[in-house]
């Protein structure tokens, strides 16, 4: 959402994590972050065997930067790449703590929010709605939910979920260490060019 992160896993263990909060005014490049990670591991680019990239939802430019870089690097090295939504990563983490379905909120435009609904079977489903419409749907569908993601959106939605037992997780971004530890299992769904990941955007949900 507002963090840039790079993790490096050597197949046996996590060897590097690095994270910047964009709100701190950092001007960073994905290339420099990856170079830093590889330098730490005393490895070169051609040592990479796979890439996992966050496909959003999130800041349009941030997500596109990450995805276009990941795809370009995967193409140039002829290695597989896996696109995964940060909602799945956050949902998985929150589910492990609370054992309940998770709603991960992302603020979008014109009063709309992305809501990633993560279930115990690992299934992730997105809604793209205003909070009142979203609340109507969730009130009718869930007896209990854990909320994560955009803090302001979480507070507003919690007030509207009158028929749901709500828990606020307080988690609003991906834990980069946990993501790094999951890299080997995430690579299971990775693919090579031309089957490359694309960012999640509001245009994917115009009819939802």
């Amino acid at each position: 959402m507002h963090h840039y992160a790079v993790t490096l896993h050597d197949g046996a263990q996590l060897v590097w994590t690095d994270q910047f909060d964009l709100n701190d005014g950092h001007k960073i490049s994905v290339l420099s972050m990856i170079e830093k990670a590889l330098a730490h591991a005393q490895a070169s680019f051609d040592a990479l065997t796979g890439i996992v990239v966050d496909i959003g939802p999130g800041g349009t430019s941030s997500v596109r930067t990450g995805v276009s870089f990941a795809n370009g690097l995967a193409y140039s090295l002829d290695i597989p790449v896996r696109g995964i939504s940060s909602a799945a990563l956050i949902g998985h983490e929150v589910m492990q703590q609370y054992g309940l379905p998770v709603a991960v909120l992302y603020k979008s435009i014109k009063g709309h929010y992305f809501c990633g609904l993560y279930h115990s079977d690992g299934n992730l489903h997105f809604e793209y709605q205003t909070l009142p419409v979203l609340a109507d749907r969730l009130n009718a569908r869930y007896p209990a939910l854990v909320l994560a993601g955009h803090p302001g959106g979480v507070d507003l939605l919690a007030d509207l979920l009158t028929a749901v037992l709500v828990t606020k997780s307080g988690i609003d971004y991906v834990d980069v260490r946990r993501m790094g530890e999951s890299l080997p299992e995430l690579m299971a769904g990775a693919t090579k060019f031309p089957d490359l990941p694309v960012p999640i955007t509001e245009t994917d949900f115009q009819d939802s």
Partner: protein, 329 residues
């Protein structure tokens, strides 16, 4: 390492090309987004950026395949860093940076305007310097003096709309499809000049202004002064061509340049090409008009301009920029 891979994504075309030092184009692949933007009557930046993500690597892949070159043949990757739509530029720049990292090939951020200026020299057509260059496209309208390919001086540019933008806006008024330039041109050939539209800033230096002309067309339509779309198009183009050619003549005489170069998408306009040929014959200078395929946005011109950067040892910052002056690298 004899070749440059060029990548262009500054607006609504995704392009990649492989070009050698002499401007020989081994491949040039362009994926247009006209179908996406047609309903909006202009480029919709959000959709443009998204389409670039889908298109950029397939376009690069095809360009390399058609050129039958591999990463070991590449001297560098040249990518447009601006001016343009930032959301579109960042897809090209990030992709180029990643390709460069993976292949261990240098990446050079190129000024899109410098690419256009060099487009006339693609495929072995050297320009006689010094030259006066008119760049007329959907995003830019400017007049420059090039002492050499490295030494560029801006003479003047538009204060508001670009020429290409005026074509699209007038096309929208007339209910024509986007991009309107080729359609307006075709219709004008079937019409005649019946309305004398104003010729903005004709006698005021080298600057241009086209927003007033567009308004005049609108008022003419509202007042019902001319009902023939063909005649309106002919009258509109006459006003634009008159301004452009007048300023080119003035620049040629003042600078004593050896040639006139006209580049950018509007350089494809048939009336402008004919008037430019007349002008150059009268002024006894050579005329460099790139083929229409190199007039519009393409990656071959970016690749050719990249050689200039390498020759000068210039590696600009790769941050995408919406605005970038002509004189900047």
């Amino acid at each position: 390492m004899k070749y440059i891979l060029g990548i262009e994504s500054s607006c609504d075309d995704t392009a990649a090309a492989v070009v050698d030092r002499d401007g020989k184009v081994l491949s040039s692949v362009i994926v247009s987004q006209n179908d996406i933007h047609n309903n909006f009557g202009g480029v919709y930046p959000e959709f443009a950026s998204r389409a670039h993500i889908y298109n950029v690597l397939p376009v690069v892949h095809q360009a390399l395949a058609e050129a039958t070159v591999s990463k070991t043949d590449l001297r560098a990757i040249g990518v447009t860093r601006g001016p343009g739509l930032v959301g579109s530029l960042l897809i090209g720049v990030n992709t180029a940076q990643a390709l460069g990292a993976g292949w261990q090939v240098p990446v050079v951020g190129v000024n899109h305007l410098r690419g256009h200026l060099r487009s006339a020299e693609l495929e072995g057509h050297p320009v006689a310097y010094p030259a006066v260059v008119l760049l007329v496209s959907g995003g830019h309208t400017l007049l420059a003096y090039m002492k050499s390919r490295f030494d560029i001086e801006l003479l003047g540019e538009t204060r508001d709309d670009s020429v290409g933008e005026s074509f699209d806006k007038v096309g929208r008024m007339l209910g024509l499809d986007f991009p309107a330039g080729p359609i307006v041109d075709r219709m004008a050939q079937a019409g005649r000049v019946t309305v004398e539209f104003p010729k903005p800033l004709l006698h005021e230096g080298y600057e241009f202004s086209f927003s007033g002309l567009k308004t005049s067309v609108s008022r003419c339509l509202e007042a019902g002064l001319e009902s023939s779309v063909e005649n309106l198009c002919a009258s509109f183009i006459e006003a634009i061509a008159e301004v452009l050619i007048y300023k080119c003549r003035k620049a040629l005489r003042q600078t004593k340049a050896s040639s006139l170069v006209i580049v950018g998408g509007v350089a494809a306009n048939s009336q402008l090409r004919a008037r430019a040929a007349e002008l150059c014959a009268q002024e006894k200078v050579s005329l460099a008009l790139p083929p229409i395929k190199w007039s519009t946005d393409n990656a071959a011109m970016i690749a050719l301009a990249t050689w200039d950067y390498l020759d000068q040892g210039v590696y600009p910052d790769l941050t995408p920029l919406s605005r970038l002056p002509l004189f900047a690298y």
